[in-house]
């Protein structure tokens, strides 16, 4: 079980502090009783259901659409084509100005003249029930003229490959080249240069609740309410406003319980824009719930990178240079508004990031193809950069006969070197690679595992140990999106109010996706105001009710939303003390708020309880001194300004056995440094859940497409996700390096598990298979791939022996 860890709090170390305590989340009782309020549960008066007829072709011209039979079908309210919808909702282009050269084509809510991926919506059928809409959808006749699909990213830029969007000139969405230091000279001077190719399977988030939306346009008020499981309500409000031509103030986005998001639900989806448009057109609530087959074809995919990697190393283990050439296929459009170039950009930014080495060359190319779109999914780019870096480091160690731990000790940035910059200019405030490595080795008992591995190897049992050190971007400021022109807030706000009974309400722009935002915000507010946790209630996920802010993505809710709540709570405490000082004729400096009462700061003696203070302020303000106005509501906002991002660091280790091509995970260890830990249990569970999603991508998860752009396993039976019986217990430890950018000092923790796990598992598999001369670098590591690689190695060895 999770234990509370000591935290280095100072200003936070208030009496009865909840900071650093594993208090349970307030919203769990109703979720365990089936009383959640997910969008898929929502029913409104006059509500109708939309089903989308989707393109069965990866690329096809839409010649004609016949909706006459569908319109006459039972229960049908309307049948709408892409062309009709384009008259109400304007198209968008997913670019950001700071991604220099990034281009994309205008995308409509539904295809108008051409479908560009299998699954793109072409016709909307709206009926009284979902079943009737599905019946009628079968009656829609669409005459397609198939066009040649572009599916292989490696040939997407060839002159003979068709260009998907003629107006763009070619299939290159974005290219970035970077050189730091003098990599050419460093490689030339290296004792060894090792090169290998890595690939990362296209996979997706598989949120257990599929995407769902109820859009409710009310012509009586002129307002549109979008009930949507989203991570960024204000972003969606802005986008709906722009493309439906309505003032932002006439759009309300409400996000209650969300059945999993992981980055999947932070994007603008064409079919959700279509659903909002339909509500405006039909003047009634329209409900869209993707079924699982639609989810696989339309929820953003991610990864799908091929990376050529190169490392230079000296005989003593000094890493001299890194080089990568990354190629990724993103589907036919760059996703709006965060764009689909970010993952490749992160791979360039992060590769080699934990290491001292400053010689680095990188190229990333992002190409269009006729497959589903890709975009930001949990740990964006990090699993790729980490696996490439750590795979290369292990290959270098293997070449010079050095232990993987020793090469890391030699090359990881020293813990006393901060602040410093990476080869790509990333600014590190304070990281702890060596402390984390040392802690990890102790937790896993490295020497014992190595001895066990050697012993078992004699018996023909092949176990491996793999490590992955990594850095992770959290708490992003405006550098991610705002500077590129996207109206995605990097600041968050909190409003904290004391009511007449002494209870506290906090409205926050951070959102809850199940990770525990509401619990953490409540802990922070209870501590900063000085009330018990059960007196604090959190309101989130409603653009009509909360301050303007970014929401939950890029591991930012606790670090940014939490700090805003901390500052708002402090401001409210000051206001409470001012009221008490006026009532008690005392010096405000001599008072504090603790456990729901104003007390003497020195002795802790209670002077006035908050319900009594509230009673006076709200019902007998006439008894307060003349000219004194009590303010029992406080607002604060926060955005990190000292550093563009709060980098975290961590290290993971995997211990596993490979038998008959199957990987059996025996142990997994993580040491994570996310700064101040607000709730140890929630941090550890974010890490564990993240690790398992990373393991999924490394071992099972893969959106398999054929050459025609048809996804071959777009259902939950054929697309494998981790099951309980396949997963190990995961031990989590911490090093704590708070960020000085905020008083709380908290950095993000939601994505670190996913960032490190694939690299650690890859290195462990290759360690296990080292006697066979096998190095696997193409994820996912399926039994088929492992057995094929072993058979090839066997043949190679036989050939060499014969020669």
């Amino acid at each position: 079980m999770t234990r509370d860890v000591p935290s280095p709090l100072t200003a936070l170390d208030r009496p009865n502090s909840y900071i650093g305590r594993s208090v349970p989340r307030p919203n769990l009782a109703r979720l365990t009783e089936g009383r959640g309020e997910y969008v898929s549960d929502l029913v409104l008066p006059r509500m109708v259901h939309v089903v989308y007829v989707r393109s069965p072709h990866a690329h096809a011209e839409i010649r004609a659409i016949d909706v006459s039979a569908a319109k006459k079908a039972k229960g049908v309210v309307a049948v709408v084509t892409g062309a009709e919808m384009a008259e109400v909702c304007t198209p968008w282009v997913g670019v950001l100005t700071h991604m220099v050269g990034l281009k994309s084509a205008p995308q409509h809510p539904m295809a108008v003249t051409r479908a560009c991926w299998q699954g793109e919506a072409v016709v909307a059928v709206i009926a009284r029930t979902r079943a009737l809409a599905e019946d009628a959808a079968e009656l829609v006749e669409i005459d397609y003229a198939p066009l040649p699909p572009v599916t292989d990213m490696s040939t997407a830029l060839d002159p003979e490959t068709p260009v998907i969007h003629e107006s763009l000139g070619d299939n290159l969405a974005f290219e970035r080249n970077y050189t730091g230091g003098d990599p050419a000279a460093a490689f030339a001077a290296s004792d060894h240069v090792i090169e290998t190719d890595f690939s990362f399977g296209r996979h997706t988030g598989v949120t257990l609740e599929p995407r769902a939306m109820v859009a409710d346009f009310n012509p009586g008020t002129g307002r549109l309410t979008a009930y949507l499981g989203t991570q960024a309500p204000h972003m969606i409000q802005n986008i709906l406003s722009i493309h439906l031509g309505m003032p932002e103030s006439d759009i309300r986005v409400v996000c209650k319980d969300v059945g999993g998001s992981f980055g999947i639900k932070v994007h603008v989806y064409a079919d959700e824009m279509a659903t909002a448009t339909l509500s405006k057109m039909l003047k009634r609530p329209v409900k869209f719930v993707a079924d699982r087959l639609e989810s696989f074809l339309t929820d953003i995919h991610a990864r799908d990178h091929r990376v050529k990697g190169k490392i230079g190393v000296m005989k003593d283990g000094t890493i001299t240079a890194f080089e990568i050439d990354d190629l990724t296929g993103i589907g036919p459009y760059s996703v709006y508004p965060r764009t689909s170039a970010v993952e490749a950009n992160q791979v360039v930014n992060l590769t080699g990031g934990p290491y001292i080495c400053m010689n680095y060359k990188a190229r990333a190319r992002v190409v269009f193809q006729n497959k589903n779109v890709t975009c930001q999914y949990r740990a964006v780019g990090h699993p790729i950069a980490t696996a490439v870096t750590e795979g290369l480091v292990d290959l270098a160690a293997q070449r010079i006969g050095m232990d993987p731990v020793e090469i890391r000790r030699k090359n990881l940035i020293k813990d006393d070197a901060y602040p410093c910059n990476s080869a790509t200019g990333l600014k590190f405030e304070s990281l702890s690679h060596h402390a984390a490595l040392n802690k990890l080795l102790g937790m896993m008992d490295y020497e014992k595992l190595r001895a066990e591995q050697a012993e078992l190897r004699k018996k023909g049992i092949h176990r491996g140990i793999g490590f992955a050190s990594f850095i992770e971007i959290t708490n992003p400021g405006a550098a991610f999106y705002g500077v590129g022109g996207a109206r995605i807030s990097s600041q968050d706000g909190a409003v904290v109010r004391l009511d007449a009974t002494g209870a506290v309400t906090c409205q926050t722009s951070a959102t809850e996706q199940g990770q525990g935002t509401e619990a953490v915000i409540a802990q922070v507010v209870a501590t900063s105001v000085g009330v018990s946790l059960d007196r604090v209630r959190i309101i989130s996920g409603d653009t009509d009710q909360t301050p303007y802010g970014g929401g939950t993505w890029a591991s930012r809710a606790a670090g940014i939303g939490g700090e805003a709540a901390w500052q708002a709570g402090k401001a409210l405490r000051e206001n409470i003390v001012a009221v008490a000082a006026a009532i008690l004729q005392a010096d405000p400096k001599s008072l504090d708020v603790r456990e729901g009462a104003v007390v003497d700061a020195d002795t802790g003696r209670e002077r006035i309880a908050l319900p009594e203070l509230g009673r006076i302020v709200y019902f007998r303000p006439d008894t307060l001194p003349t000219g004194f106005q009590a303010e029992l509501m406080a607002v604060r906002h926060y955005v990190p300004r000292g550093y563009p991002f709060a980098f975290t660091n961590g290290i993971q280790a995997s211990y596993l056995e490979v038998e008959d091509g199957f990987v059996k995970l025996l142990g997994h260890w993580v040491v994570e440094d996310c700064g101040t830990i607000l709730n140890p249990q929630l941090v550890d569970e974010q890490v564990r859940g993240g690790v398992v999603q990373g393991l999924g991508g490394a071992l099972f998860e893969h959106c398999v497409y054929d050459a025609d752009g048809q996804m071959q396993n777009a259902n939950m039976a054929d697309y494998l996700v981790p099951m309980a019986c396949e997963m190990p217990d995961i031990q989590v430890g911490h090093v704590v390096s708070p960020t000085a950018d905020s008083e709380l000092g908290a950095k993000g923790a939601g994505e670190a598990g996913t960032a490190g796990a694939p690299g650690a598992v890859m290195n462990a598999i290759n360690d296990a298979l080292s006697p066979f001369g096998v190095t696997l670098t193409h994820m996912p590591f399926t039994p088929d791939r492992i057995l094929t690689a072993m058979r090839e190695a066997e043949r190679r060895q036989k050939r060499q022996a014969a020669e």
Binding site: E33, Y38, G260, E685, A717, V721, D729
Partner: protein, 165 residues
């Protein structure tokens, strides 16, 4: 079209102790019936092809996938959902352990997971962690990584064993 699937049948079934006599289309699966006809939205739909386990309910005391069970198959049968099991208090200790151990994040898999786990707990007083993991492998959770769920099941069983002594 779909004539056979849309044929309406009269069924009588007991859900959480309450008898319902309804006319349903042949194609209406139990998950839709519970959610849309009875308003019992605690039974969740994740895949509608029997893989993810989010729609797990009890029929005649045995766990079934509500998405693979047609309502017409439930004629005369006794169904229990998360709403009924919560009201009766039968799994209150397990629910409490889930809350304390944070064995759920988004909560979407949770009703199905609780019902699936309760089936193991009814027959195995002290299963190993491996057995618990095996048993809940028909229920996907994308958030937790499963360890907290295994912990919560284990803790509950240990407490039950101690209480029985």
């Amino acid at each position: 079209m779909n004539g056979d699937l849309e044929t309406v049948f009269d069924v009588t079934l007991t859900v959480n102790g309450v008898e319902h006599s309804e006319s349903v289309e042949a194609r209406r699966h139990l998950a839709d019936f519970l959610r849309e006809d009875l308003g019992l939205t605690g039974t969740h739909i994740g895949c509608e092809h029997g893989v993810c386990g989010a729609c797990t309910v009890r029929m005649e005391g045995e766990i079934v996938r509500a998405c693979l069970t047609l309502t017409v198959q439930c004629d005369g049968k006794r169904i229990e959902t998360i709403e009924g099991l919560s009201d009766s208090g039968e799994i209150a200790d397990l629910q409490e352990a889930f809350r304390t151990r944070n064995a759920l994040q988004c909560g979407y898999c949770t009703p199905g997971m609780l019902i699936a786990a309760s089936a193991l707990m009814a027959v195995e007083p002290m299963p190993s962690r491996e057995e618990i993991r095996d048993h809940i492998s028909g229920n996907y959770c994308r958030c937790t990584g499963y360890q907290a769920i295994v912990d919560a099941v284990e803790t509950t069983l240990r407490a039950r064993a101690e209480a029985a002594r």
